[in-house]
């Protein structure tokens, strides 16, 4: 018992000394001694002079594997070449952090990675500064698709470094069930529907359509809607009604796995073999594909009368308005946009599309390259739309509307009536800013 009291006392003394470290004003110090050994990493470059620092706050690379890749295989190159110590922080609601830094004028973040849906907000709130000089100095060409999101007036605020679309992925076991004359690399949604129904009849439901609430139902249906000529987001337009009907047919014929309601992505269902077919965001698709490239086929989004529809997003790199390390930040952006580096980043993380012509030219036949090329196909030749998150008071609520419609359709065995759709459209419009 005495030992315990002593321990408690020591603990409190130790903590008292930590209080200084615990207050958030302190810049991030070297890692506290961990209970488990950390793998030996060369974080400190050979000290000749004091290394400069750079802090990146990113919404991209939220998956631990991606962060690992960036930290282990991308950042060291930059750190060694420029004698900089880079801190990478990946968090969800960066807007709050930006707002806090702006309000207190204490800019600890130098470089920020933002999703295209949020870029207008950042530009409007002056969280980032123009990058015209860097952009002009770079000898590469960025795809036009993201001009509108990354620029305001004559100023470029972001350089897009990765883009993503939705792709089709199929287990090779599904191929024998393709409808007559269908080419998996050039499917229409009708053929996709027939394919899924064929499988349902022979082996049971095999389509993964992740339906976990507030995740990606909106994007899957959005892409479908675009293929049929609808706008995004929209519930009751003619094109959208056609899209609902296609999926409704699949539901009616039991082609979609009911367990899809439990998942926010098709990874588990596809990898375990429970599902053989899915249309989903290219990052999870890339994850599934690279787990065993010989087992799967990846293709561009299926097409409707209007083309291959998909919701597309992009991530851009920008420099915060109040950074104290502008030169280092500049160097970092230049480094990141080097074609060989950008290719590595794209391939080594989820398999995003690098929206730079020079990088695209380098794509080969490796699994991730294959994913990237398919994505590119959709991006350049398909019907894509971004995510207009800033136009709505709460995007989560928008997602919920789509969830409600889908669930109702499921409960009604695949049918929806127009009045219900109109009602939900009103709910959607009520959310507009």
């Amino acid at each position: 018992m005495k030992k315990f009291l002593v321990m408690l006392l020591v603990l409190s003394l130790v903590m008292a000394s930590f209080v200084g470290c615990a207050k958030k004003e302190e810049p991030a110090k070297a890692d506290q001694p961990a209970k488990v050994e950390e793998p030996a990493k060369a974080e400190e470059p050979a000290k000749v002079e004091e290394p400069k620092t750079l802090k990146i706050t990113s919404g991209l690379w939220s998956r631990p594997e991606e962060q690992q890749f960036i930290r282990e295989e991308i950042l060291p190159g930059f750190e060694n070449e420029f004698n900089v110590k880079v801190e990478l922080e990946v968090i969800d609601n960066i807007e709050k952090v930006m707002e806090a830094q702006k309000a207190s004028d204490k800019w600890t973040t130098d470089v920020v990675m933002t999703h295209s849906g949020k870029m207008p907000l950042y530009i409007e709130n002056a969280y980032v500064q123009p990058l015209n000089d860097i952009k002009d100095s770079l000898d590469i060409h960025f795809m036009d698709a993201f001009e509108s999101a990354t620029t305001e007036g004559n100023n470029s605020y972001y350089l897009p470094i990765s883009a993503d679309v939705y792709l089709l992925i199929a287990n090779k076991k599904a191929l024998p069930y393709l409808p007559e004359g269908a080419d998996v690399t050039k499917l229409t949604w009708d053929q996709y529907k027939d394919w899924s129904i064929n499988m349902a009849k022979e082996v049971g439901p095999k389509v993964s359509f992740p339906l976990m609430p507030v995740k990606a139902t909106v994007y899957q249906m959005g892409g479908l809607g675009l293929s049929y000529g609808s706008e995004f987001p929209m519930i009751n337009s003619d094109g959208m009604v056609d899209a609902w009907n296609v999926v409704g047919e699949m539901v009616k014929n039991n082609a979609i796995l009911e367990t899809s309601f439990n998942y926010g992505d098709p990874i588990e269902q596809m990898k375990s073999g429970e599902a053989w077919l899915s249309f989903y965001h290219m990052v999870p698709v890339g994850d599934i594909y690279s787990s065993a490239p010989a087992k799967y086929v990846v293709a561009a989004a299926p097409a409707g009368p209007n083309g291959n529809g998909s919701i597309a997003g992009a991530w851009g790199v920008g420099i915060t308005a109040g950074t104290k390390n502008k030169e280092v930040a500049d160097e970092f952006i230049k480094y990141l946009t080097r074609p060989e580096v950008l290719y590595q980043v794209a391939a080594g993380t989820g398999g995003f599309i690098p929206p730079v012509d020079e990088v695209i030219a380098q794509l080969g036949e490796e699994p991730k390259d294959v994913i990237m090329k398919k994505g590119l196909d959709t991006l350049q030749n398909g019907v894509v739309s971004g995510v207009p998150g800033s136009d709505y008071t709460d995007w989560g609520a928008v997602k919920s509307v789509y969830d409600t419609v889908f669930k109702t359709m499921w409960d009604n065995n695949g049918s929806l009536d127009q009045s219900f759709l109109d009602e939900q459209q009103k709910a959607l419009e009520a959310l507009e800013k």
Binding site: F261, S272, G273, T393, L431
Partner: protein, 290 residues
């Protein structure tokens, strides 16, 4: 002099805690109560309560929270009581057994979720075991449970997590029970069952009441396991709705107000349940004065 001082001492001792509560709990809760009854323009209004009652998921959330609390408490206490009775013997390894029983309590909610999600998924370990033991041929789709089945599902998982700690409370009460009462009963010819019913349980009553109240309060506020297993909205609970408004749709004008309103409703329900329960148990307590 000493006496005067003595009179004030308890208040001195209590002050730190009370001040702490005043500052860090009463203030925010008070603000929450006021906030739930204030309209956007600052005027008094009950419209958020009306909006909550009109919500499509409100009745499901209410029903689920109440049912969950009732069923889980009843279930857990019956099983825990039996377990405690059985474990109330001194035998080798009882402490080790106790430790094993405590394991679920040390597992954080997020980990419990992976544990059971990997278990109940179509190709998860539960189906794995059942198929290996040839009890079933094809995997059962546990996770497609809807409505009441889904509720039972969650109760099951909650029981796994919570049962050990309930059992321990009862066990501790039993072990502090004076053996003499039990023996006296047996000497006078009562059966083991009668001894349990008429002697042990009444003496244990205060402990049981305490534990039930703590469990009830926690059970009415369950939400995270539902969200982690099924996502938002599939098996709604009152506090799950609070999490929904705080986490999923935080930017709507009414989000904050709705979560405050739900919180107030939950608090009221909890208080009412506790008071009701105390009344009921006090009544039967009177019969039991030894």
């Amino acid at each position: 002099m000493k006496n005067k001082f003595r009179k004030w001492t308890p208040y001195f001792l209590l002050t730190p805690a009370l001040l702490y509560y005043l500052f860090f709990w009463i203030r925010p809760v008070f603000n929450a109560f006021i906030g739930s009854m204030t309209d956007f323009d600052g005027s008094f209004s009950l419209r958020f309560f009306i909006e909550v009652f009109k919500e499509p998921m409100f009745s499901a959330a209410f029903r689920n929270s109440v049912l969950f609390a009732l069923i889980s408490v009843l279930l857990q206490f019956s099983i825990a009581f039996m377990m405690a009775l059985l474990l109330n013997k001194k035998f080798k390894g009882v402490n080790l057994l106790l430790f094993i029983a405590l394991i679920p309590m040390a597992v954080p909610p997020a980990a419990v979720a992976i544990l059971w999600k990997t278990g109940f998924s179509t190709f998860g370990w539960l189906n794995n075991i059942l198929i290996t033991l040839h009890i079933i041929k094809t995997p059962i789709l546990w996770m497609t449970a809807q409505g009441f089945n889904a509720l039972l599902f969650l109760i099951l998982i909650d029981t796994w997590t919570v049962l050990p700690s309930v059992m321990i409370i009862l066990l501790a009460g039993l072990q502090n029970l004076n053996k003499e009462y039990e023996e006296a009963g047996l000497i006078f010819g009562a059966t083991k069952w009668q001894v349990t019913k008429d002697i042990i349980m009444p003496i244990l009553k205060p402990t049981i009441i305490t534990a039930v109240i703590l469990r009830m309060i926690a059970a009415i506020q369950v939400w995270m396991i539902s969200v982690m297993m099924f996502g938002y909205g599939r098996v709604p609970f009152l506090v799950e709705r609070i999490a929904y408004y705080t986490d999923v749709v935080p930017m709507l004008d009414e989000s904050y107000k709705m979560s405050l309103t739900y919180s107030v409703i939950v608090t009221v329900i909890v208080m009412v349940s506790v008071v009701l329960y105390l009344q009921v148990s006090k009544k039967s307590k009177k019969e039991v004065e030894i």
